[in-house]
């Protein structure tokens, strides 16, 4: 009976770890994001913009202290799994992760926003809402092979506002990176005007297909850093900030805190597929955990 108990304990630990990670993702700013806000507050000359930045940062600190959601749109869980060469992923593990997500949403509590019913009802929202926050199903897993000997799960909570303002579309690059950058800056400027919950972190993936570009965008959210920005990322941030839309649309030079860009493999072609998500003032809501208890 012992192996069964050990397996059950291992499963239970994964569920608890994932639950706790989802709560941290939803309630806590990363250290580098706090620094990015503090720097923006110091640099911002517009008093309305400074007020917005200060109150958003204060809200995040209160959310962490009280372990409550930073935003009432608690988002759709997106799961990114890094797998080292000697690790295995079983159906049981994926089940435990999903169970941990459901428990986390109930514990948080997440916004109960799962639409019930058949295809048409889910489209026009006539099937009603499931009152269980845990019924909000995560998006499909994204899996990445890595050289490191780890099994690492990244949990991202994706809100609705950035989904409305994001897009995946082709850019004819004309063999000039500036063409791609300028198009992204146009999208970003339009997005910060409309989104409302800014300052943004612009997250961008560039690939050979819509699917690949979206996967690259998710990777940019996971591995992007406020502390380390490439020349191209800085150029995009500065380009959008030149619009002076400002946080919450109140004016000022801090519409965007940073840009997280991941350029994937590209095809020999005049087109690049760009996936663009203007993450809101709380996003990326991210927490990463090692699944230590998983099988080797």
């Amino acid at each position: 009976m012992r192996p069964i108990t050990e397996a059950a304990n291992r499963q239970r630990k994964i569920i608890q770890d994932v639950r706790d990670a989802l709560v941290r993702a939803s309630t806590t700013f990363s250290k580098d994001k706090i620094v990015a806000y503090q720097q923006a507050i110091t640099a911002e000359k517009n008093q309305h913009a400074r007020w917005a930045l200060e109150i958003i940062l204060e809200n995040a600190l209160v959310a962490e202290k009280n372990q409550g959601p930073m935003c009432d749109d608690t988002g759709i869980p997106h799961l990114f799994l890094e797998i080292g060469p000697k690790r295995t992923v079983s159906g049981e593990l994926l089940y435990a992760i999903q169970e941990g997500i459901a428990e986390g949403l109930r514990f948080l509590p997440g916004r109960p926003m799962a639409i019930m019913g058949h295809d048409k009802q889910r489209l026009d929202q006539t099937g009603g809402l499931d009152p269980d926050p845990g019924a909000v199903a995560p998006a499909p897993f994204l899996i990445k092979q890595v050289d490191e000997d780890v099994l690492r799960l990244h949990i991202l909570m994706e809100g609705g506002g950035p989904a409305i303002r994001g897009k995946v579309y082709r850019v004819f690059h004309q063999h000039d990176v500036c063409t791609v950058r300028d198009e992204i800056v146009r999208w970003g400027t339009e997005a910060v005007e409309q989104l409302g919950c800014t300052p943004c972190t612009l997250t961008i993936g560039i690939g050979r297909s819509h699917y690949e570009a979206a996967a690259m965008m998710m990777e940019a959210q996971v591995f992007g850093s406020y502390a380390v920005q490439s020349e191209l990322e800085v150029s995009i941030t500065e380009g959008v900030n030149a619009s002076r839309v400002g946080p919450l649309g109140l004016g000022g030079g801090s519409s965007v805190l940073a840009t997280f860009l991941k350029v994937g493999p590209q095809r020999a072609s005049g087109v690049r597929i760009v996936c663009f998500r203007p993450c809101c003032c709380f996003e990326p809501r991210l927490e990463s955990i090692l699944l230590e208890a998983s099988e080797h």
Binding site: N46, H48, W51, A52, I55, I56, E58, N59, A60, V62, A63, N66, G68, P69, M70, C71, D72, D73, T74, L108, P109, G110, R111, P112, M113, Q125, G128, L129, P131, P133, G160, G161, I164, E193, Q194, L195, G196, C197, R244, V245, G246, L248, G249, L250, G251, G252, C280, C281, F282
Partner: protein
């Protein structure tokens, strides 16, 4: 220094507000978004509002869902929400709380009806401590998107559109 506003709001209070004013709002306010507001507009158009407990004269409408996760502004420029401004303003709504830019047409409706639009920061954790009561007043079948009334204490906002002007023009 923020201007304290109590609900219901008089025409005189609205007339004195300027773009860029920081305000706090105290009292009973309505909360609704994509699902509730079009239904509320239909109630008004069908003359059913008189038979309800909903009092829109001098009221505030906060564009939010109300869920166990709390409250926080959704985009006021969503079609279902922005299309409600005209009817609701004629019916007496004086202040809208939301986020995002609204159209020139909506700005004109607000001016015609001496109403204003304020941006409320998406600060769910802070708003939790400032929301004293909440209950559903219409469309309970919509769950978190039902029309709610909230009793709030000094929730912060900034006037973004007033008397035909916007805060972006003000900044420029």
């Amino acid at each position: 220094m923020a201007i304290d506003i109590q609900t219901p709001i008089s025409d005189e209070v609205i007339a004195a507000l300027r773009v860029g004013d920081m305000v706090t709002i105290t009292g009973y306010i309505y909360a609704g978004r994509d699902r509730a507001l079009p239904k509320l507009v239909r109630m008004i158009e069908d003359g059913e509002i008189e038979n309800s407990d909903i009092q829109l004269q001098g009221s505030v409408v906060f564009h939010t869902a109300v869920s166990p996760a709390g409250v926080g502004p959704t985009s006021s420029n969503k079609v279902e929400i922005e299309s409600s401004f005209r009817t609701l303003s004629k019916e007496g709504v004086k202040l809208y709380l939301g986020k995002g830019e609204i159209s020139e047409i909506t700005i004109a409706f607000l001016e015609e009806n001496n109403a204003v639009y304020a941006v409320i920061p998406p600060v769910t954790a802070l708003l939790r401590s400032k929301t004293l009561e909440q209950k559903v007043v219409a469309f309970p079948e919509e769950g978190i998107e039902a029309l709610h009334v909230l009793k709030v204490l000094k929730i912060p906002a900034i006037i973004a559109v007033a008397h035909g002007l916007t805060i972006r023009e003000d900044n420029n």
